[in-house]
Symmetry: C3
Subunit: 404 residues, 3 copies
Amino acid sequence: MSLNRCVFLFVLCVACREMTLAQEPFHHVLTSANSGTTESSWEIDGQAVTPDCEHAWSIRKRTLRGGRQEGVEIIIVDNGAMEIKICPTRGMGILSVAMNDVELRWDSPVKDIVHPQYVNLESRGGLGWLFGFNEFMCRCGLESNGGPTTDRFINNVGDEATMDLTLHGRIANIPARDVGVRVDRQPPFAIHIEGQVDETLLFGPKLELHSELVVVPGAASFQLVDIIHNSGAQDQEFEILYHANYGSPLLEKGAKVVVASESVEPINDRAAEGLTDWNTYSEPVTGFIEQVYLVTPKADADGRTTAVLHNSTADRATSITWSVSELPYLTVWKNTGAIADGYVTGIEPGTNFPNPKPVEREAGRVPVLPPGGSHRMTLEFGIHPDHESVSRVIGRVGQIQRRN
Amino acid sequence: MSLNRCVFLFVLCVACREMTLAQEPFHHVLTSANSGTTESSWEIDGQAVTPDCEHAWSIRKRTLRGGRQEGVEIIIVDNGAMEIKICPTRGMGILSVAMNDVELRWDSPVKDIVHPQYVNLESRGGLGWLFGFNEFMCRCGLESNGGPTTDRFINNVGDEATMDLTLHGRIANIPARDVGVRVDRQPPFAIHIEGQVDETLLFGPKLELHSELVVVPGAASFQLVDIIHNSGAQDQEFEILYHANYGSPLLEKGAKVVVASESVEPINDRAAEGLTDWNTYSEPVTGFIEQVYLVTPKADADGRTTAVLHNSTADRATSITWSVSELPYLTVWKNTGAIADGYVTGIEPGTNFPNPKPVEREAGRVPVLPPGGSHRMTLEFGIHPDHESVSRVIGRVGQIQRRN
Amino acid sequence: MSLNRCVFLFVLCVACREMTLAQEPFHHVLTSANSGTTESSWEIDGQAVTPDCEHAWSIRKRTLRGGRQEGVEIIIVDNGAMEIKICPTRGMGILSVAMNDVELRWDSPVKDIVHPQYVNLESRGGLGWLFGFNEFMCRCGLESNGGPTTDRFINNVGDEATMDLTLHGRIANIPARDVGVRVDRQPPFAIHIEGQVDETLLFGPKLELHSELVVVPGAASFQLVDIIHNSGAQDQEFEILYHANYGSPLLEKGAKVVVASESVEPINDRAAEGLTDWNTYSEPVTGFIEQVYLVTPKADADGRTTAVLHNSTADRATSITWSVSELPYLTVWKNTGAIADGYVTGIEPGTNFPNPKPVEREAGRVPVLPPGGSHRMTLEFGIHPDHESVSRVIGRVGQIQRRN
């Protein structure tokens, strides 16, 4: 081989490698269980990673200090259009999303972002979860979700024993063990925030949550791509509910939830009282007792459905789109008490309804993962900031509803 | 306007502003929930802030490291006469006070200043609070205090449910979310240590404790000025008890508690056994079972009363002075077991007696705050280091007792 | 005295002092409760401390960050032959021991070294301890160990009350309050890792664990020298079990536990099924229900006994040697489920069997410490890396078994 030819091939190789490198996503580890490390603060922006991207995005990690927030880690993703706050310390929950004057959040009586060390799930009759509850979206599960109850299980010696299941399970109060950031270097330069949360123990579930938030710079929506994995060698039940919560000003008198449904059932007599107006919200009413509706959603040809929450003038809305094969049930939680007490509604796709687990098991709504098995779920959260975009998404729900 | 006149006015303005500034208190934020920050160590002294003050005071903040103390924050106020240790991490409790050989403290079997993360209130049959209990003064409340019990409440779905109330409630194990220091720049140059502790949740109490410790440089006393605020939109019960604890050497055989009382009732048969000597203390007695006396204090013309604990020779004492309209009840806890087991007495003004909450509710001793309402309490803790000052404070109690 | 004589004496003094200093052990405090300090990272090696030692030893302290490992402190002792990982944050437990291809450890479904703040012992019906369980060796106690149960106790007012005892007690989830390193400067240059863990409270036990791990550079064994001290003024029950756990590859089909025994009893019917093969292990069997055997060991003339676990080819083994007067009972826990579910056996010397405490109390197996009393225990953990050393230690057990 001539020298010239060698040089040519070498140059070609280098060029290829550069191209490959340029195409490999940017990757950065924020927390690693294996190395026992985390970065208390870190940031990156689009200029450094995706100079060709037209949207000025950034990702910041910071760690809160002081009081019940001490040590709480937050990742703030600004995609140039929206700001999304993710909390690895609280099970990769989403604290809030903001796009101009549309905010996905609510005013909880809990003002701090509470570190799980201050949340005793067993307290207050199994309602201790509420001491930390103020996220826009937290996952409920994985061994169980729903109201507190006593459940039977087979213990280490093979006997049937009982345990108290606490409200909405553990996953929202378990810090992620591995957290990382990936950014695609090719259009549309998607940003990925990944985190793994383990709910595993000897003589108990071996369930891993592999969560991923995907957001494209400039977009008015983002995706959650979650996998629940059974790392154990035996069948394992699980439950998950995406507890997405919305408060004022999106929630207001005359706001509505719009969803294509096969059926809508009130969870109890109290909910039955409001069944005719189940999808319309009132102004804050002091002393309002929650009303919960159990919706079996109807899907489009691809098996996907959309739930919309829009304000009274239908010029601000948010939506969740998901596959009913992945999350077949939807819970609508109306809790329109006084602002100071927590004026909020929950739009909550799930594998089940938030009844106590034995009720759900009896109804056949507690899925089981085989050994090594996984359940994958993709949810798209959208913001619709004007009349036209609201009309469009409501139209989509109408189309689904009209299907045969 | 002539130039001279302009210059004169300008100089006047600057002078006024300087005077105003000089009169504004020194203010420093140590912990801020809004900014998610805290200072792990900090200090200031009188020379820097109040050069005209004749007493050499200082304030130091530090953070303990290691074991169950990891992350515990302490503020040490030296007013030139007394050293006061405050613990923001433990609900703004007071760890100890020392003035020469008079120390307000006790020897608890718990030797560490235990971070709340290691205190599971639900453990040991609802007595888990004891795993962290070694302060000179901790607040008991706010949803409840007193012995562990089961209470009824209305849950999120409007049903009556039960929950286990744990010994002395949560507030002593909740870190303060906002902590600050203020120092007046004018005589008597009072030092203020402020902290807010939240006990709030959805479907539960929305109670905020706004605490303030005020101490004047050189003084042998300090004040607590506390406000309990209901930030919710509905009526809210609360209970608070100031659990002030005293051990050896102030507590000794022949030490006495002196208080003007309308009545003194033993809490149970065991206390009834010791009723005739209820206000006199014995030496440490191994295996001593606690005796608790429920005192309805008598007040002076201003509605204020004083409780005194003095040693056997009546030349060392400490006192608490408060308003019976704010804290109408006083509990005296005699727990004169062996030194190694915790030789201690509690002098505990409260909104109630430390019976289980249902007992207190039935007796009409559980106050209710209206929506947005507040309850303010001022307590003065004094040290009396010699025979004369002890006589004087005992005399004051006698005067109150003799009122018609 | 002549000047010469003075000089001579002075030189002699200095020399003596140097020799004394040289003979004093190296000492370093890692965590001190009194000063409220800890060192987040630290290291030392043999060259600096024992230049005459032929084995290149080192001690490293580090602090894990991120997820449920945040703040977990680890001490890694390399004695030139073995690496021992100790966890002060988890009650001075031993995470793992490794000597070439012999590792004392197991694959727990819990992958993180979990900070105690994430372990709620009361959860899952008193089995919450399992959320952190993955050590090679953790202590179970001190107030109680064994299965969850309800026990009676005398509460603060002298009444009988009940409390839930949780699986294996608290000590493995209490951080050490004082941690230090000592290294002898004379042969055999023993390394000592010391830690104190308190389980003390008012109206409860006042039990202190003073633990010491001793390892000689180059040795294939190490010792635990533990003292449990009752710092209270009254009699105090205690229980301790050394939960030493072994997984693959040492544990495998055909592996055996060898121990000299007076008797071997199955803990329940399930264990009775496997009694004939109680000391032989199977391959991992999915769904295997644990079998527990209660062994009363037989001792040598010095009152010491040895338990051995060896692999199927008897060329890798580990042993524990202890005094039956200190720890009269041995529990063998066979839990040979699937690898993914936790394939593990426990060889567990203790003051008692892991039955619920009331059962053990009734059987006379709950020792009582008098006021100020102590119980001292010495355990030697050995690794036997070849056929010859395995034969030797099995031979020793045989000798004990054949004694009259």
